[in-house]
């Protein structure tokens, strides 16, 4: 059998977004949020995405996370074009390959922390309780696995949400202002957890934040401005 040689560089690239365009229309007005945004993430990257409020960071992340559609451009994920996939394939990628953490934790209130973490693995048909418990230990909640979300603090809930996003061992984790609702020490803890995940599991992480101090903990910093992604220069 002949095996196609994989180009060494391409093998390293996990996500390759090219020329993404997204325009919001409403009330006769057009808001061109993404105007040809490019982004390349290598496997194991640990990247912060900065930008002013309203610059389109969330929009960009939601498009990458297949929660929204781009109008133009392509997104290669592991070498596969995913921006034009059907709804079923998009759902499957969200379930198995791309984790997403919002500013709000969005946990199911009627399920315990452990049940919340288990849910996506159960949906994917590979329920693994030991792994869910290990993730909860990783985020420092081993003694609160049986608590309901409304019995947890904001920071604790956010950590459950992170464990949930990781339970199906995604190769890419996208976080959108995951620390936005937390005080400084709590936010620091969360970013430390991201770093740990990145190191322990090699998960590629792209975090949107507007906090430059937190961004310094990341390996790379980018900025979204005028609908285009560039390097963050620190001004």
């Amino acid at each position: 059998m002949e095996v196609e040689p994989t180009p060494p560089l391409a093998a390293e690239i996990l996500l390759d977004a090219r020329g993404l365009h997204k325009t919001y229309r409403g009330g006769g007005e057009e808001l061109r949020v993404l105007r040809g945004a490019d982004l390349q993430l290598r496997k194991g990257d640990f990247v912060a995405l900065l930008g002013n409020s309203g610059s389109g960071k969330s929009t960009f992340l939601q498009c990458l996370g297949l929660l929204d559609h781009v109008e133009e451009g392509e997104i290669l994920f592991g070498g596969r074009e995913i921006s034009r996939l059907g709804e079923g394939d998009r759902a499957d990628l969200r379930l198995r390959s791309i984790g997403f953490v919002f500013q709000f934790h969005h946990l199911i209130p009627e399920l315990t922390a452990l049940e919340n973490v288990l849910l996506p693995s159960s949906l994917a048909g590979r329920r693994d309780k030991a792994w869910a418990l290990e993730l909860l230990r990783l985020v420092g909640l081993e003694d609160k696995v049986a608590r309901y979300p409304w019995q947890l603090s904001g920071g604790e809930s956010q950590r459950v949400a992170i464990a949930r996003a990781l339970v199906n061992r995604p190769t890419l984790l996208l976080t959108d202002e995951a620390t936005g609702n937390l005080d400084r020490p709590r936010a620091q803890e969360i970013v430390d957890i991201f770093a740990k995940i990145n190191q322990n599991f090699g998960t590629t992480i792209l975090s949107v934040t507007h906090d430059e101090g937190l961004a310094l903990k990341y390996g790379r910093r980018l900025r979204l401005k005028d609908g285009i992604v560039g390097e963050w220069t620190g001004d």
Partner: protein, 417 residues
């Protein structure tokens, strides 16, 4: 596949049952009451459908049985002359016949104490009996009357009535009423006048030898009664099969007379056709009510969805596919539809029993010719109602699920302006 995961169904169960210890304090749970109301309304809809159909089937069965027993399960019209000829014909009958009676019909007039009425008189005799020989004694002509007809004429069992058969005999016959019968269908009972052929022949042999010599009446033939253990006369298909068998059997015989066969249904085509139409209309009307009730179940799913929209959007965001979502709502609809409909069938059955036992179940015999509300709980019928209720709820839930699965998750989650 995702829709069948254990935790997902546990979550559905939690949402449906909503154990207090799991819910955050103060969480709105309109859903539980709305699902109860919806299940109740579907149950009542199905119950109404079930009860109506079983009452209808009850009347239908009572009347069918009455008509079949009064007129014969199959009628063979044939221009017979002697019983010997007919006995030959009977040897070609397929299996399942219990009794065969000869008949002739003639338009006649009955005059009683209170009045007279023109009816089709039927002379009925046992085929097994010997051809009547001229008789010396002149017993009364025996007459069986439908109870409503006797009442109209003002006569009772044991009394007499004057019978005129123009075209058959010149003079009036004083006939004795041997029996009053009630088959339960007014259409039959109010016109039922049966002359015992043996007594008529004996009378004619003395008073009108010419009539005795030929067979009287305009229509003649055999009335065939099945053995219910072999052929249920109400089972139209079996009766048809018997007729087909009979026709095939006489095709190659020497039988020289024109022969037509009619089943009991065909003898009262109009009445049963009308009943079929009534039944269809009622089924459609109540069926529509049931569909509405089934959509109530779905309306309660909408409440569930409205109350849990953030969680559902979260699940879709986490990768629950549209198909899995639809499968989920569909299954919920199926389960609720099935159990509500099942409960509805029990309600219909129970109500029917209750109605039969209560004074409400007593019917004015003058109006219906049936004394108690007839109920026939036909299982195949009830099963199709169950299937119908379940199917409606399932379909409605699938439609709902499919449209809900297209939700804008970012808007629901509050991440869109």
């Amino acid at each position: 596949m995702g829709a069948f995961s254990r935790d997902w169904w546990r979550l559905s169960w939690v949402w449906l049952v909503d154990p207090a210890h799991r819910s955050p304090p103060g969480r709105q749970v309109l859903f539980r009451s709305s699902i109860r109301v919806a299940a109740l309304s579907l149950m009542l809809g199905v119950g109404a459908l079930s009860l109506t159909l079983s009452i209808f089937s009850g009347f239908y069965r009572t009347w069918s049985q009455g008509v079949a027993d009064a007129l014969g399960h199959v009628v063979i019209d044939t221009d017979w002359r002697t019983r010997a000829e007919l006995r030959d014909l009977v040897t070609h009958f397929p299996r399942g016949v219990q009794r065969v009676e000869t008949f002739w019909n003639s338009q006649g007039l009955l005059v009683g104490k209170d009045g007279g009425r023109g009816v089709l008189i039927e002379g009925r005799g046992e085929l097994a009996a010997a051809d009547a020989a001229p008789s010396e004694s002149t017993p009364d002509v025996q007459l069986k009357l439908g109870a409503p007809l006797a009442e109209y004429l003002g006569v009772e069992a044991g009394g007499t009535v004057r019978l005129l058969l123009p075209g058959v005999i010149e003079r009036a016959v004083e006939a004795r009423i041997s029996d009053l019968v009630r088959y339960g269908m007014y259409d039959v009972d109010s016109r039922y006048a049966l002359v015992d052929d043996a007594s008529f022949a004996a009378w004619a042999s003395v008073h009108d030898p010419e009539v005795f010599a030929r067979r009287p009446g305009d229509a003649r033939g055999l009335r065939v009664f099945f053995d219910p253990a072999v052929i249920d006369p109400l089972d139209v298909e079996k009766v048809e099969a018997w007729r087909t068998g009979f026709r095939a059997a006489i095709q190659d015989t020497e039988w020289s007379f024109e022969t037509t066969t009619r089943t009991w249904r065909e003898q009262r085509k109009n009445a049963f056709g009308g009943m079929d139409l009534d039944r269809q209309l009622l089924t459609i009307v109540i069926g529509l009510l049931t569909i509405v009730a089934a959509f109530n179940v779905v309306a309660s799913l909408v409440v569930l969805f409205t109350e849990r929209d953030r969680e559902m959007a979260t699940l879709v965001g986490l990768g629950l596919s549209r198909g899995a979502f639809t499968l989920w709502t569909g299954t919920l609809g199926l389960i609720m539809g099935f159990f509500s409909s099942l409960a509805g069938i029990f309600v219909g059955w129970g109500l029917g029993r209750l109605l039969q036992m209560s004074p409400l179940g007593a019917l004015p015999a003058k109006v219906y010719n049936v004394e108690r509300l007839p109920l026939a709980f036909v299982w195949t019928e009830q099963l199709s109602i169950l299937g119908f209720g379940t199917l409606c709820a399932w379909l409605a839930a699938v439609i709902l699920g499919w449209s809900l699965a297209r939700m804008d998750i970012l808007r629901v989650l509050g991440h869109r302006g």
